[in-house]
């Protein structure tokens, strides 16, 4: 969401034809549009230029360890749920130069990051993803130290949310109280209907863009239709996670036999952490030119599932899958609350879908709670 001031809600109707203008308007406002598009048989987030880049008429079918694109019987542009990407890859890039060192006559001299991102417009942000941005805001912006790359990218970004009108079998945002309806954290919000969109602005910047689009009054019936579409997503959510006292539940069960049970299935592949919209672990590597006198410090995503992530004094603290899975789940659902005052999980279900062996964290939590045999 941009830093511009909040405005009062005023729903308008945007036809499918007029929606195409959005790309021109965003370009005129200086934005680089990032949105959903099909690549390698998945709906991913990438730079897009027009409506033609959107996954028109496609949906995703998700289950533990399974993701497939399927054609829809309509022409929905946002008729899918979430894919392997999240907006984190544009706010906290998978690779970024965080600092530079140059050897001079006066010895080594050091520079901070020179990251100069474009102004992003994120198109198609789901409620769980708005929640994920709020979580990462806590991580990168709320402490005594602020991440300069995240801060710069985040403060320049325009967020165009799109309400979910359907859910995947892996979704559990209602348990995490993050969705499916978008309630805050956006500049503009859309609900897609067969004939067009109900659109609303929450910030002055969003309203400015909305005013540049050809919209009409959103009729009562249209507003009702949008409400019904949003309600459909709520009704489709079947997966649940009981979050009662979850912080203490996990931290008081650090020797529970379930950790060994899940370790027998977990491949420690890091997929769950790569697709998670809130996981923030990273490592830094030295990238030197041939002279050795210009060195860049490149930060890249890392994962607590990597063997050497906890390397210290010639050994690894977490030297087995049991301890690494336990670290991930207890951090995500328990210690995150101590650290940042919020759960690290937004209920998007990506870690379930993209786990090659279909490990489902909601099941693991239920097992530790003793709800399943």
């Amino acid at each position: 969401m941009t830093t511009s001031t909040a405005v009062k809600s005023k729903e308008r109707f945007l036809s499918k034809e007029a929606f195409a203008q959005l790309f021109t308007v965003l370009r005129d406002h200086g934005y680089t549009v990032i949105g959903p598009t099909i690549d390698q048989e998945a709906i991913v987030y990438d730079r897009i230029h027009s409506v033609d880049d959107l996954p028109l008429g496609w949906t995703d079918e998700q289950a533990p360890g399974s993701y497939r694109l399927k054609p829809r019987d309509d022409e929905a542009l946002f008729g899918y749920v979430v894919g392997p990407h999240s907006w984190k890859r544009f706010l906290f890039p998978p690779e970024a130069t965080i600092a530079e060192a140059n050897k001079t006559d006066a010895g080594w001299q050091f520079e901070g990051t020179t990251d100069d991102p474009p102004k992003f417009a994120f198109l198609g942000v789901r409620a769980c993803e708005l929640a994920a941005m709020r979580v990462q805001d806590r991580v990168f912006l709320s402490g005594a130290y602020v991440d300069p790359i995240y801060q710069r990218r985040r403060s320049r970004s325009l967020v165009i949310a799109v309400n979910c009108t359907q859910a995947a079998s892996t979704c559990f945002c209602t348990s995490m109280r993050t969705g499916p309806q978008c309630t805050s954290g956006y500049d503009l919000v859309l609900t897609e209907l067969a004939s067009g969109f109900v659109i609303d602005a929450a910030t002055a910047e969003g309203a400015d863009i909305l005013d540049s689009l050809e919209t009409t009054v959103a009729l009562i019936e249209t507003q009702q239709e949008a409400r019904a579409a949003r309600q459909q997503a709520v009704q489709q959510i079947e997966r649940r996670m009981d979050t009662t006292d979850i912080r203490d539940l996990l931290l008081s069960n650090l020797e529970h036999p379930r950790w060994s049970h899940v370790a027998e299935r977990c491949l420690s592949c890091t997929n769950c952490t790569m697709v998670c919209p809130t996981c923030f672990c990273s490592s830094v590597k030295e990238v030197s030119d041939l002279s050795g006198e210009h060195v860049e410090r490149q930060r890249h995503w890392d994962s607590c599932f990597n063997f050497d992530f906890s390397y210290m004094n010639g050994g690894n603290v977490r030297d087995n899958t049991r301890s690494r899975y336990r670290q991930w789940l207890t951090h995500k659902l328990s210690s995150w609350i101590d650290q940042f005052g919020t759960s690290g999980c937004v209920g998007c279900g990506r870690c379930i879908t993209w786990c090659p062996v279909g490990i489902d964290l909601t099941e693991e939590v239920a097992a530790i709670r003793g709800d399943v045999p």
Partner: protein
């Protein structure tokens, strides 16, 4: 108690880049024991040097371009503002590269980071410092601070264990520390010709410590994790309570500011919630294997 002994926290409104290092030059290298040297580092930028303050127990990130970056405890007297001493053992790629550098060479420094020893809590009380091996290095600034305001404290005891007599760190300073009111007790794992002192683990020194008032003592501990665990057990057995015991922890660190995730132990980031912890805070997580 001087306020400069409290860990300074950055002002988030200033939004300084936590990744940006400052240039420091090696002013002196003092070999300590086999494989361990102390490096006096001086900031190149006069303004940075003038404003740099640290509290005993804090650490810096030392950056050798191309080789990498490591977390190193500060070993200097906190009142020394001209240079900043770091006692470093050759252990990996970065420390090996550093060992090959000479006076005048430059490197990067970020810091100081982390929490500090609770010196203000020691006023009017006895202090026992229990350390092992190079664990004495992060304690040295606390020794300097305690001795600088010696009259504010009760009995001061240093219990120090090393592998062998020739690996006792800062041995040349013990006489000075003793004269100024710190009772230095040493022990070694393996004796050597001419050694007339104690042999055995450092916890034996704590078990045998006389004139010990468990209710009015603060204990600082720094050393290998197993040594700290047994030290805490001994201290508790001798009647101390967990709130009087402070330990300095170590984990893999890359950012030093709680943003990279490496150093987590339960709910804590060792880099910013530690490295110095009051024992009761970290106790539930210290004994869990592989946490």
């Amino acid at each position: 108690m001087s306020s400069s002994y409290v860990a300074p926290l950055p002002d988030p409104r200033l939004a300084t880049d936590p990744w940006r290092a400052s240039t420091v030059a090696i002013r002196a290298v003092r070999p300590e024991v086999e494989g361990v040297s102390t490096y006096d580092l001086a900031f190149q930028d006069e303004a940075v040097r003038a404003s740099y303050r640290f509290a005993p127990g804090q650490f810096n990130m030392l950056y050798l371009p191309g080789a990498g970056e490591i977390a190193i405890s500060i070993s200097d007297d906190p009142r020394n503002t001209a240079t900043c001493a770091h006692t470093i053992r050759v252990a990996g790629n970065v420390t090996r590269t550093l060992a090959g550098m000479k006076v005048g060479d430059t490197l990067g420094l970020r810091g100081p980071f982390g929490t500090s020893w609770p010196l203000a809590e020691c006023i009017g009380r006895d202090v026992v410092l229990v350390t092992g091996g190079i664990g004495l290095a992060p304690i040295r600034p606390a020794i300097c601070a305690l001795l600088h305001q010696r009259r504010q404290f009760g009995r001061l005891n240093l219990l120090y264990g090393a592998r062998s007599p020739d690996t006792l760190l800062y041995a040349r300073e013990y006489d000075d520390w003793s004269e100024r009111g710190l009772i230095v007790h040493t022990t070694v794992d393996r004796s050597a010709l001419g050694w007339m002192g104690n042999v055995g683990v450092v916890t034996l020194l704590l078990e045998r410590l006389r004139s010990f008032d468990p209710r009015n003592t603060v204990l600082f501990c720094c050393g290998p994790e197993v040594m700290m665990r047994f030290t805490v057990l001994t201290a508790l057995n001798r009647g101390m309570s967990p709130e009087q015991i402070w330990i300095s922890m170590e984990r893999n660190m890359q950012c030093a500011v709680g943003l990279c995730g490496h150093c987590q132990l339960g709910p804590d980031f060792i880099c910013k919630d530690g490295p110095v912890f009051r024992y009761d805070r970290i106790a539930p997580f210290l004994d869990v294997e592989g946490l």
